[in-house]
Symmetry: D2
Subunit: 338 residues, 4 copies
């Protein structure tokens, strides 16, 4: 950590800061300039509350120097993490992964039809919601485990992997037989108890960035899962909240290359939630892959206008097929395949 | 709901929109202008996904007209809600309520000392965290139920009410004997399963605004509790995330009068989390009361520098006492007492 | 415009709103539901201050229905605008335009060298700043007209078009002989006097989105130029301010397809300012073209480490050449060429 | 400045960074920890582009330590600046200043009537717009110098000071005889040419915070005026753009105490623009004074419903009178008078 003193800080103030640093177990190196003194603290600063130092008399600025995350940092695995699923499909490797399916699992017919359609188009994962977090208490809340059984059948029939959202600890155990990958939604990105439990599971977890989370907070949240010994974590950019309201969220495409740089974990893009509008999904899916995403996750429904949830951001199967064709060309342009 | 068609929308496009509205159970009134057609839909539109209408050919804009919340709206209780606690203390009435205490309950000595201090200064609620949601998995996670027992004793000794954060459903039952008011933190504002369970409890709940939640989303979240039959809900503004980084969050003081207008529920201010800096707590506590808040919640510790969490935003007892004196004058200026 | 009355609005309140609408020259159509009355106003509402209606007693919501911009809207030129420069180069057509050059024009050697390099890589525009808006009064302020002369020579030698920023009205006239396209920077997006003057010029103008401007405000600003009779306007997305601080700004890639939908004007991406980091420019340039941008503008310098301004976001010539190669493949993937 | 190297940075990388620092005229102090090396640079770093250092191989973080502003910093005048006007009225002293008047100067009758009303209520400044920056090119653009003459007469008749917005350099000279204080609007906060010219004027300037400006950027902008020798600068918080849309902007009340701490310049609050809604002006004016503002500026009109601009945020004279009464009590609560 670094503490920069104000220009006319007194020796007493400087000593006071040094004392507090030393008491926190930090070694202090002092640099005395003509107008300003700087204190560099080396040691176990990860859990220090640097805010406290900002309030000490004579202090101008305090900065933490080391990353607050350890296991999620690029340095931990410079070569990058590749998450390998039981059928050999990989996320984070040379191939760009396509995950697609309806917002909500609704009926056997619906999920089987969409599974067939997305498989044909080139997807390797079937997505579908069984437990739905809805802003209104009066909206459809999902089919639960019965829905997951339907999705599992449909996925198996097509040789697809299945991914679905887990909303609370009690759902982990019953979901285990039916999903290949747990999804943690944006609203639960900082549900640390849930993350900790998922760290004990031996199945991959896809962790979505919270609607107001910084990249650092996303990496720190992933640390909860990694710290439990589950290294198969996939991150997901799905739009952040800004002042612009034309799109439901503002998809932070730049988070994709930034996370590639800061972390070894794979990162995929979710243009459906990132924009909230069906007509904006193809350009933003293309942008994600062009920016280096390891995959995309997209909402597709045989009949979006009749979907029980998120219809407005759900693609028609034909449009999805066309999109995958474009993504194939873009993947090639950035040295990947699909 | 209102659907405004584009200037040159065809009759076929207009009919298509009308069909979809009628199929959703909505009565349609058509206004044909010289250049533009407007369709007003009246009926059960609360659960409609208006985003879907935005994508129909020929549509320019779609707006929901009615509030998506019902029970939380001012119209439901125009006279305003007063939450009355078992000792007669009220929140939402003429008196401005003061809630204070440490971020974390640490030791019997600490919690008893702070209880005595805040009581003397004029507080009627003792706050203290027993279950802590921490951004880092390596930080202190709270004393749990043992901590709540300590807080209960300290509160009873001073005749204070006790408020503490509940983080998940399994904690509700064990917490019941020890708290007078459940607090739902910003990270859990949209943990709808938790809110639903708190709707079944017969104890007041203080619901904090999420760090990126709109005022409408806060009211909608409160609806989950109200819909369960628990009408004793207190809202809390605690800062939102903006581009400004000098303060930890930007405390949206204007949310206080806005919520007073839109809803009947009491609203209090949390300047400790709203600013993240001890030196900014007094001015923002004063601003909250001046803007019409029904109370404030503030972090106070006998020795903030030694606090295990949030020390930087925690007040010294003397400064807190001085602040309460100022708040008394400001409350009088806005026709309240304290 | 639409005015939705509150559920229990009185007839007197409704009449009062109707009166105010009629007095503003608007025809009113009334829809009376069982619980709610809706008033649709048709007529010249573009200049109405709808905020005033929100404050009338009994009013729940007020929405403007028609776009506040006219000439910039897609409906004005459904086929899209192609800006054609004097040497036949087009922006907004089938070709993706590449604009590149240093942040600041520094020396004859520097500008000639970079002109040669970007031309070779495939650019058709040379960019370079002569008047610099700097956040600090103590920073380099640009070479002025002398710099533009240097840029003109270098551009002509390579057969490139020249684009440079105009900061105030008095600069327009002296700049005219030296630039092929005026650039209006983000800070001046709402300098309406300057925009109005540029509406009278007969040279193309590239208008950058302000750092906190909505898409609607950008289109409204362009209306100032269009209203003067200058239809050769190119828009530019260059990052908006959000809470995320890892990148200097958050490049709103989705603004590109949104503007394509709402407006007929060409839109290009500026990944240099959009990210503020050299290593993030290639992924975001690729994302822009993949999302449908009509071009990109990028900072390139023979020796970025020695650049007098913006060195951190400036590319090395070799990296730029490699990027253009990738963009060529991506342009093909979306049916464009380069 | 501080450069923190990555954990496994090589000696070559470290030397490379040191070289670049030394070449920039900075003295380097090196701290070598067991896992990490930190380089502290002391010297003329104000104009260094620290972004460039972030891109060097092996670098983890770079922080500027010293404030980029000098003259605006609290350290320059620890006792605080009091701006004294020709009639003895002060801003920044013990008294809270009240500035009020219409958004636009419209007619002699209007400006005389409002001058009389605000004077009676307790204002010491008459505000009124003569040059109006409007988002739409089709809206009312102000009366210009003729309007200022009207305002001058009205102000003199009531013994009020006059404040009005200057939009460009060419307006400064003609405005000089008519205003006691120039106002720089939020859109022009970074119009550095204009600020520089105002630095040469010998009249006070009120500088409003830009809609997306950080507190640091506001102080840096004020530096342009101070650097010219004009020390009579008053800052103004008038709302920033956030994701919340119920209010037009989110008034950052906490900026008031923060600026009091960081700078010696007076700071006032503008709740009219801060909220955009007449009914939210009184609570936010009270909050501003409670938080320590040196004054407020409020829009008042004899008949807000007929105002040619900003009617929705303009107060009725009676409500303004009542507000000033409340502010008097709150000023007393924080040790000020009015």
């Amino acid at each position: 950590m670094i503490v920069a003193m104000q220009e006319h800080a007194t020796e007493e103030q400087i000593d006071n800061v040094i004392d507090k640093m030393v008491n926190s177990g930090v070694n202090v190196h002092r640099t005395t300039g003509t107008t300003q003194t700087i204190l560099a603290g080396v040691g176990p600063t990860a859990n220090l509350d640097i805010e406290e130092f900002k309030l000490l008399p004579g202090v101008l600025y305090v900065h933490r120097i080391s990353s607050p995350y350890k296991l999620a940092g690029r340095g931990f695995r410079p070569e990058g993490t590749i998450v390998t699923f039981r059928n050999g499909v990989q996320v984070g490797g040379e191939q760009v992964a396509i995950m697609a399916g309806p917002c909500s699992i609704e009926t056997p017919e619906q999920i089987h039809e969409v599974a067939r359609q997305v498989k044909q188009a080139g997807a390797s994962f079937l997505r579908g919601g069984a437990f739905k977090p809805r802003s209104s208490p009066y909206a459809f809340q999902g089919l639960g485990i019965d829905g997951l059984k339907l999705m599992r059948e449909a996925a198996d029939e097509q040789g697809l992997l299945a991914i679905s959202e887990v909303m609370e600890i009690s759902q982990i155990e019953p979901m285990l037989p039916y999903v290949d990958c747990f999804q943690v939604g944006a609203r639960n990105m900082q549900n640390f108890n849930l993350l900790r439990e998922l760290g004990k599971v031996r199945k991959p977890v896809m962790l979505k960035r919270g609607i107001a989370a910084t990249i650092e907070e996303l990496l720190l949240a992933s640390e909860y899962i990694l710290a439990g010994g589950n290294y198969d974590v996939i991150l997901c950019e799905r739009g952040i909240r800004t002042y612009e309201t034309y799109t439901r969220n503002t998809m932070d495409v730049s988070a994709i290359p930034v996370i590639k740089k800061l972390s070894h974990l794979p990162i995929i893009g979710d243009p459906s939630h990132g924009t909230g509008r069906r007509d904006m999904v193809p350009p933003m899916a293309r942008a994600s892959v062009a920016a280096g995403a390891d995959g995309i996750i997209v909402e597709v429904h045989p009949n979006p206008d009749k979907a029980v949830s998120d219809g407005a951001q759900t693609m028609f199967p034909e449009a999805f097929t066309e999109l995958v064709g474009q993504l194939r060309l873009i993947a090639a342009a950035v040295g990947r395949s699909l």
